[in-house]
Symmetry: C2
Subunit: 757 residues, 2 copies
């Protein structure tokens, strides 16, 4: 549902409509090609041996028996990577430390988590490869694991990396530690402000590692050719990142690596990290043949993905008239086996929905003997929002103010200073909260025992970054659009629609194609909710380029100056001679007889990102006998800026809410004391299904981003931010118990409400 705000006008022809996505039919008919569909002549199948231990030295790996198995063509370990000095790999693109990446994709001297890759085999069939894994003999020297973020921070804790020093305020510590870095943010004077607060609440929260749960496992097929050119077919959110990381890891020129992004069965951030391509590369190099690797679900859960488990202590203070004036937070996020948790984003987004003048936030990035975390939809933000929105809810309660009203009167808006120093541009937070306050859901009675209604707000930055694309005008007036971003959430459509809008032609006249890294200019990851924003902006620029070229061509045909020709609503016409005009298709038909082909190009790196806010309302009922929480009704409000394709915005809102509800109620990485993961299957790792959820109502409250030609903000991430607290606040209203440790599983509900273990 698009809520018509007073500012909204129906000024677009294509934007705001709901055409069928270009890749839709291929996907529903099974014709779309995924990484697992790849089959090449002479192709080998790979398999990966993984550690059964959470923490151990690797004393020796004997691969001789495996190598002798008929059909096995190669067995590799970390030692098979080409020697590239660590200092060369520590630098570089983005924040990816390739020394750690190399140790993660095949363990070097230690295994650091249950499921850590140790060796790999390429064989003539997947069955032989799997069989050969059993013949690899690894001698381990077991070490004590550390699994919890608080334990790992303690002095005397088992140390994962002997060379890791805490990076603290730009300086490195001098003793080995599991704390990879300490971040510190300050705004105003929190200590002083707490002194002026009438109500102060301090609480502790914990969350567990949870997985993105993409339906398609990781895969990669790698062909290392005789002339040291690599082709990689795979499921990825960042083909160019894979390309650049592989080039550096293998010390090859960037243009020797071609990454072909296949269709993707979900990513949610978890398909940015690189796991299989380096292993496939050295197997292919050793065998001279293409090698295909596809993970099974257990491997996906044990060794890829999850986002951090966490510990947060948060204190907030308000005046008795309901003004939030101070916050003090400590956030410790599990990074898994290698540094890199999203604690920074957790710190910086936590207070985003609020105009709060004084805050001190400390963040800790902590390694533990669990899989290295990967990005997951608004990385870090749901965890900190869970803490913040729980405390805010409690403050509102203590002050006797309606929780939504409390949020409204403290809402951040244009000009509010953010923790990271900048002030907000025009944002839709206030309009969205007002819409929620006025909504049918919020005003509907909720009757019956064991029921409660909760609300929570959430903020996410969104991202800009680099996008490049181009588009060719065909002779019949259709347009072929070439993009470089994996289409996860319908971005072929949302980009094509912006090009069509710019050109004044139907969306169906534009055919978008996602191509490989050799076939289009650089594009940053499909992530950060940035594609419809930044690649859409590129489509606008590209369209303007085509408009200029079309006008110039018409001017040449009519023997007029370029300024004498204008482009209006898909018609190219002479300003002063009404008889001289071409429709887009008419002029397209004359391109090749009058000069060079007409191709629009654009390459952008937009900085004027519009922040995103989401506010969710949940009604729940808690079964006192089983402890099960049933979501009765759920409404997600969000400011998408201009909703380019409203149906896909709704889909993102519904998907984010669903994942957040799973995180709140059921999902968790369950570790045994020895550090082995006990629930590495979708049977035991419980994600919500359609049977578990009501229809998620999605309400778009559009406040166009003035920093984008069509007012776009990011859409995909922010809807996962509020649900954790939304559900917890609702469960509190139903049970009288504030759950500060996730998930709110039946076991925990029974324990907290009835003392049952």
């Amino acid at each position: 549902m698009v809520l018509e705000t007073e500012k909204k006008q129906k000024k677009y022809k294509v934007i705001g409509t709901r055409p069928i996505r270009p890749d839709g039919l291929d996907k529903v008919t099974g014709r779309a090609r995924f990484g697992a569909d790849i089959d090449l002549p002479g192709m080998l199948h790979g398999a990966i041996l993984r550690s059964p231990h959470a923490h151990a030295h690797i004393v020796r790996i004997d691969t001789s028996k495996a190598a002798a198995l008929p059909g096995v063509k190669a067995v590799v370990t970390n030692a098979d990577f080409p020697h590239v000095p660590a200092e060369e790999l520590s630098l570089g693109e983005g924040a990816v430390n390739l020394v750690h990446l190399r140790q993660n994709v095949l363990a070097e001297d230690k295994v650091l988590y249950h499921g850590h890759a140790v060796a790999a085999v390429a064989a003539t069939s997947a069955h032989i490869a799997t069989e050969a894994l059993r013949l690899i003999d690894v001698t381990y020297e077991l070490l004590e694991p550390v699994l919890d973020v608080r334990d790992a921070m303690k002095q005397g804790s088992p140390i994962l990396h002997a060379d890791l020093r805490t990076r603290d305020m730009g300086k490195d510590g001098d003793i080995p530690s599991n704390i990879a870095s300490h971040l510190h943010f300050e705004l105003g004077d929190a200590d002083h402000a707490f002194g002026e607060a009438d109500v102060v609440i301090e609480r502790e929260f914990t969350t567990r590692m949870v997985h993105q749960g993409y339906i398609e496992p990781h895969n990669a097929t790698v062909s290392w050719d005789e002339d040291d050119h690599l082709t990689i077919w795979m499921s990825t959110q960042g083909a160019f990142n894979v390309r650049d990381q592989m080039a550096r890891l293998l010390r090859l020129p960037v243009h020797n690596v071609r990454v072909v992004p296949m269709e993707i069965g979900g990513g949610f951030g978890g398909k940015i990290s690189v796991y299989l391509p380096p292993v496939g590369a050295i197997l292919s190099h050793k065998t001279g043949r293409p090698v295909k690797l596809v993970m099974n679900r257990t491997e996906v859960l044990e060794a890829t993905g999850p986002t951090s488990g966490s510990y947060i202590k948060l204190k907030m203070g308000a005046t008795k008239d309901g003004r939030l004036i101070a916050a003090r937070g400590e956030l410790a996020y599990e990074a898994g086996a290698f540094p890199g948790s999203p604690v920074g984003a957790g710190c910086m987004t936590m207070l985003g929905p609020y105009d709060i003048a004084n805050a001190t936030i400390d963040g800790y990035d902590v390694v533990v003997n669990k899989p290295r975390v990967a990005a997951y939809r608004a990385p870090g933000a749901p965890i900190s929002a869970f803490a913040c929105e729980s405390v805010v809810d409690e403050l509102a309660e203590q002050l006797g103010i309606d929780p939504l009203q409390f949020r409204l009167q403290n809402a951040s808006k244009e000009g509010t200073r953010q923790l990271r120093g900048t002030t907000f541009p025009p944002i839709g937070n206030v309009a969205m909260i007002k819409a929620a306050l006025a909504s049918d859901h919020y005003n509907a009675p909720l009757e019956g025992p064991n029921r409660g209604r909760g609300v929570a707000n959430g903020f996410w930055f969104n991202a800009g970054m680099q996008s490049s694309l181009n588009a060719s005008v065909n002779g019949d007036g259709t347009v072929s659009l070439i993009e470089g971003n994996t289409d996860i959430g319908g971005t072929r459509a949302s980009i094509a629609m912006q090009l069509a809008e710019t050109l004044g032609i139907p969306m169906e006249a534009v055919r978008p194609t996602v191509v490989d890294t050799d076939s289009v200019g650089y594009n940053a990851v499909t992530g950060g909710s940035r594609i419809t924003f930044a690649s859409g902006w590129a489509a606008y620029e590209c369209g303007m380029d085509i408009r200029r070229l079309m006008c110039a061509r018409a001017a040449a045909i009519w023997d007029l100056g370029e300024d004498d020709v204008e482009y209006v609503d898909g018609v190219i016409r002479a300003r002063k001679d009404a008889a001289k005009k071409f429709t887009f298709a008419e002029l397209a038909g004359r391109i090749n007889s009058t000069g060079a082909p007409i191709i629009g190009n654009a390459s952008v790196s937009p900085q004027t990102v519009g922040g995103a806010f989401a506010l969710h309302i949940a009604d729940v009922e808690v079964d006192p006998e089983t402890g099960k929480v049933q979501v009765l009704r759920y409404t997600a409000f969000q400011d998408p800026g201009t909703a380019i394709h409203p149906a896909y915005v709704e889909g993102q809102m519904q998907g984010g809410a669903s994942q957040g509800i799973g995180w709140a109620l059921n999902e968790e990485y369950y570790y045994n004391a020895d550090g082995t993961l006990a629930n590495a299957s979708f049977l035991d790792y419980r994600m919500p299904t359609t049977l578990d959820l009501p229809m998620i109502d999605a309400v778009m409250v559009e406040t166009p981003n003035p920093g984008h030609p069509y007012g776009v903000r990011g859409v995909g991430e922010v809807p996962i931010v509020p649900p954790l607290a939304t559900i917890a606040n609702a469960v509190y209203r139903a049970t009288g118990v504030r759950f500060r440790d996730l998930p709110i599983s039946p076991r925990r509900v029974l324990k907290e409400t009835q003392g049952l273990e």
Copy 2:
């Protein structure tokens, strides 16, 4: 060998060197992917039933038995094409009449040549498909065929197309005829000039149909998706032409058709025509599965390719001081079953090497019951050059002038008026003939009986047309270049070299990739010797675009104006501050941290094509017992303009000469009286092998084309123009007999020299 002319300077760093071609290793190791390598899930295999008759009505086609064979999924005929009115198909891109194309790829009511496609089958294996062909029952009503161009022009000849009228000087005739069109060219006053000539010679010539002889048979795999998008993987010289023709033939938007050009095993013009994709399309549409079609050699020879057989009458006159002053020619070219012989180009190129003020030339495009002709390397020119260079040779002899000297004193040069009206820009004809005159070969004695030396000249226009490409700068200073032209003769290298030269970086830093029609802007055919010229020009423009973008980025980094920064030899530097400079790679490494990706783009349609000339010298020995002509020594001179990659220019010169020698000595389509082709195999259709030929010496005499940034002319076609006459003139000197009917096969030599049949 590159002959250093006085004008030539070593002013380039990359151009003129001989780097290894980017696709070389893939091709020699078998890793390159050709159309026959395609294998898709659920793919069916197609086979085509072909006519055993040269000329017949199709009374009935009964496909029921074939359709009932287990494994057969579809049987189609011409009636299965979607109904598109003929008037819609007769218009359009290039000169392709799609009504004829549709009738050629699957016969409608008549078969017009032996091998004409009649029906097609898709089945689960190629064997079943072939088996099913035998179960298709076709009832023919036989018609008398006409096989020779002169017979076909006679009144009362069997008529191929009841609706064909002669298009003569823009008007259509009113009675059915096999003469599709009559062309007429005039320059000066030939009748008057013949009156002033001291020597006049008139001769008649005939040539037979010959095939391009590409090693890779035609293939196409077509997938017609549920949403009416087609993907076609195939061997083609013109992916965009295939796309546009298929879209019109099937009445689909252009952007619904994606053509993926696979690597190509030779084309020589014969892989521009479309044969299999329409058939694959309707088979795929009917079955809902991808369908693969691959021809065998017999199909290739019977139903694709050849160039015209011909009849030419040519009269030329010269003054006694050796000045060519008049020419009168009649050229009749066989078009095969449908109009479209290259007689126009034959007429217009024939006199290209000469400054001859008065000429009248008539050309006739004539249909006969043989396969529809296709382009073949300098289409039409070798045939007319054979006639012209034979008569010129005879005139020189009668005038007692050395044949090369005679050519030199009549040579066309800058300003010479051509038959098509325009005058020559700077050309290398004179310099090339002088180089031949001064050469070791021409001055070497040729002793022994039955030996002779011949020379001949040849001219080809070359083409410009549309090219589009783009190139991205990667973070390590390498460049990914995206092109749309099938690489037949090393054009990945020759285009990349021009980009590298422009950027001042090594050729190895540029990685060229040929992509499909969805992934790059419009590119006209790989043909007309145009790729190194036009796509190379686009590479230059693209490089200049990158230089501008790199300077602008450096200016932004240094906080300077764009005009304060210059690009010199791959270094970006501040004009007034020697300390401020970046190498290309240094600045490349900073692109993504300082703004948008840097991508150069170019789209061109250059008009300033430089004409090409070739002069060949052959020494032959004729065995009086067997009639076999042995080529003892052969030297090809050519003006390539600037030779971008000299080794590939040499390769083109050697290849063209080899094909021309085969045409002169052995190759011919041999038809029985009933119109069946008697030699549709490489055993019976005799192409020269390495054992038949000496090393072809290649001498490049470079006269840069002032109409190209790097002086490029076309290279690939003109070397096939002189050999027919070169060999005939040499055989005359060895035997005293002027052979005016090709091929000069042993049979014909014995007949002409000894009266043996």
